[in-house]
């Protein structure tokens, strides 16, 4: 489990997090959402040990990431947003890197490369941006770490590749694997992520599972804009209204509408979900 307690973090004069506390339970695929610049990547870097909190603590299964101990590192993998690759083939890269990870599976790597339709024979720098991302995803998945952190994984992927991405993540992540997907393209990860964490400047606005969300928030699809809605958006054929679920009605979470509702009613929804 990942525990973040009273975390303060700033880059020189820019405060990113101020006294935030957060928990990520094992075995879930978290969606880490937030506007640009709120600190999604920074949070992932703090969890990976690439940055150190100025105050407060971050622990992953009781270990302190910033110490970068092998026991911690062999159980996590971070796939950054920017695709930076070596002048080698994905196969050679994973053979060189995989030996450090106890559950690394080369057969799985080959299988994933096939499913993601990436040419095995080509070097990274001969692959397109999307192909590189898919190759690195295959590498990351084949390491079978307990924690997998993906920063904007769908950026640069075409539509079929986005579907393949969702398919691979949901099919090959074990029940013990915790995945945190940082993204601002919420539609790409719809039906994949649960729970959702929404970050704001200095703050965490929401950290809840879909079950918890629909227990308190109702997503109403109807012909008209409702006055008591947190957020309303016009869709083809009507409106979606995000409202307090006072009558405990069942509905389907629309992540994009939820995100916008949270951003427009920060304190209200934060207090509602406590």
């Amino acid at each position: 489990m990942i525990k973040i307690n009273n975390l303060d973090f700033a880059y020189k004069n820019t405060q990113v997090f101020k006294n935030i506390s957060l928990e990520f339970q094992k075995g879930n695929i978290y969606g880490l959402l937030g506007e640009n610049g709120v600190g999604k990547t920074t949070l992932l870097k703090l969890i990976c040990g690439l940055q150190k909190p100025q105050h407060g603590s971050v622990t992953v299964d009781g270990l302190t990431p910033s110490e970068r101990q092998p026991e911690f590192l062999q159980n996590v993998y971070f796939l950054p947003e920017e695709v930076i690759t070596e002048d080698t083939t994905p196969e050679k890269f994973i053979q060189k890197t995989g030996v450090f990870y106890p559950r690394y599976d080369f057969a799985l790597f080959n299988k994933l490369m096939g499913e993601l339709e990436v040419d095995l024979s080509k070097k990274f720098n001969e692959l397109s941006h999307g192909q590189k991302k898919k190759a690195l995803l295959a590498c990351a998945m084949s390491l079978q770490t307990d924690y997998l952190f993906l920063d904007e994984p769908t950026n640069g992927l075409d539509i079929p590749s986005k579907a393949l991405f969702r398919q691979v993540i949901s099919r090959y992540c074990s029940d013990e694997t915790t995945v945190i997907i940082s993204t601002h393209q919420v539609k790409d990860v719809e039906n994949l992520i649960d729970p959702i964490v929404i970050l704001d400047k200095d703050d965490v606005l929401l950290n809840a599972s879909f079950a918890e969300i629909i227990d308190k928030i109702y997503f109403e699809y109807g012909p008209e804009r409702l006055q008591n809605a947190y957020y309303t958006e016009m869709l083809p054929g009507g409106y979606i209204n995000v409202m307090p679920n006072t009558e405990h009605l069942e509905s389907n979470v629309n992540i994009e509408a939820l995100f916008n509702a949270v951003m427009k009613n920060k304190e209200t929804i934060k207090n509602l979900m406590k």
Partner: protein
């Protein structure tokens, strides 16, 4: 799990860095190996004077040693260029090996492997060139590891005009080949430590910036030293009292001071910079 050092894990990081060694440094080494070949070809193809175009083994060893220093200076930035880069260094930082294991692997490739591979290649090329009936006299390989014993002999042999004064035997007597070999090896370690540390603190143009820092430091130290000597009356009086009768004692004292200063300075600088490099690997933020 031992999070500080594990031999199995260390073997893996050695192999990992070793696989990066060839693509990252072979071109640099090849260029350095090619320089003596170019000198050889230049001498063969453009002969000017028979006597001046003969290169004995000792002078070629000096060229090899100078190029070795360049190989050592360049190695950290070639092999571990991105290890402190906020984007490209993430892979290195996240490799499941301890700081000590990564540091030791870095030291092994920069301080041991690079010099050994460079010297082996350079001596092999020199031996091949010396086989031809060209301007190369003798084999550098045959006297490379005994070079400090050979230097005295070589200098005395070349002193056909009797230019060496009576002080030369004092140097020969006081500076043993063993001490000079130790100092030479320490020199490689110091040079490597300086540039490994520079590789960790600078993000771009690492080698050039570190050379700049060294030049600046040398100027500062020289100014301080000259000021100290110029304002130290006791020292000036001592220098003024040097004459033919006590010059031997003076030279012996200077050699003794130099030996100690050189030895301890190199040990202290290397230890501090290696520790600094280790700390930077451990605490680098990305």
């Amino acid at each position: 799990m031992n999070n500080t050092f594990n031999i199995n894990r260390f073997g893996k990081i050695l192999k990992h860095d070793g696989l990066n060694f060839i693509p990252n440094s072979i071109l640099t080494l090849a260029i350095l190996w090619a320089i003596p070949v170019v000198i050889y070809l230049f001498t063969v193809l453009m002969p000017t004077n028979e006597t001046t175009n003969i290169y004995d083994a000792m002078s070629r060893i000096n060229v090899i040693d100078a190029l070795l220093k360049i190989a050592v200076i360049i190695a950290p930035a070639r092999l571990y260029k991105y290890c402190n880069d906020s984007r490209k260094g993430i892979g290195y930082a996240m490799l499941p090996a301890s700081t000590l294991e990564k540091f030791l692997s870095m030291v092994i490739y920069c301080v041991i492997v690079t010099p050994i591979i460079y010297i082996a290649g350079a001596l092999a090329i020199d031996s091949i060139l010396a086989l031809f009936n060209g301007p190369y006299e003798g084999f550098a390989a045959s006297m490379y590891f005994d070079k400090f014993a050979q230097i005295d002999k070589s200098i005395v042999d070349h002193d056909v005009a009797g230019l060496l004064d009576d002080t030369w035997p004092i140097f020969v007597e006081n500076l043993s080949p063993t001490f000079m070999t130790i100092l030479s090896l320490l020199g490689i370690l110091t040079l490597s430590s300086i540039f490994m540390f520079g590789n960790m603190i600078f993000k771009k143009r690492k080698t050039g910036k570190m050379i700049g820092v060294l030049i600046l430091l040398s100027i500062i130290i020289m100014i301080i030293f000259i000021n100290y000597v110029a304002n130290n009356e006791a020292l000036i009086n001592y220098f003024e009292q040097i004459n033919e009768d006590n010059v031997t004692e003076f030279i012996e004292r200077m050699i003794f001071i130099w030996m100690n200063v050189a030895l301890y300075t190199e040990i202290i600088i290397s230890a501090l910079l290696l520790w600094g490099t280790y700390r930077k690997i451990k605490t680098q933020k990305y």
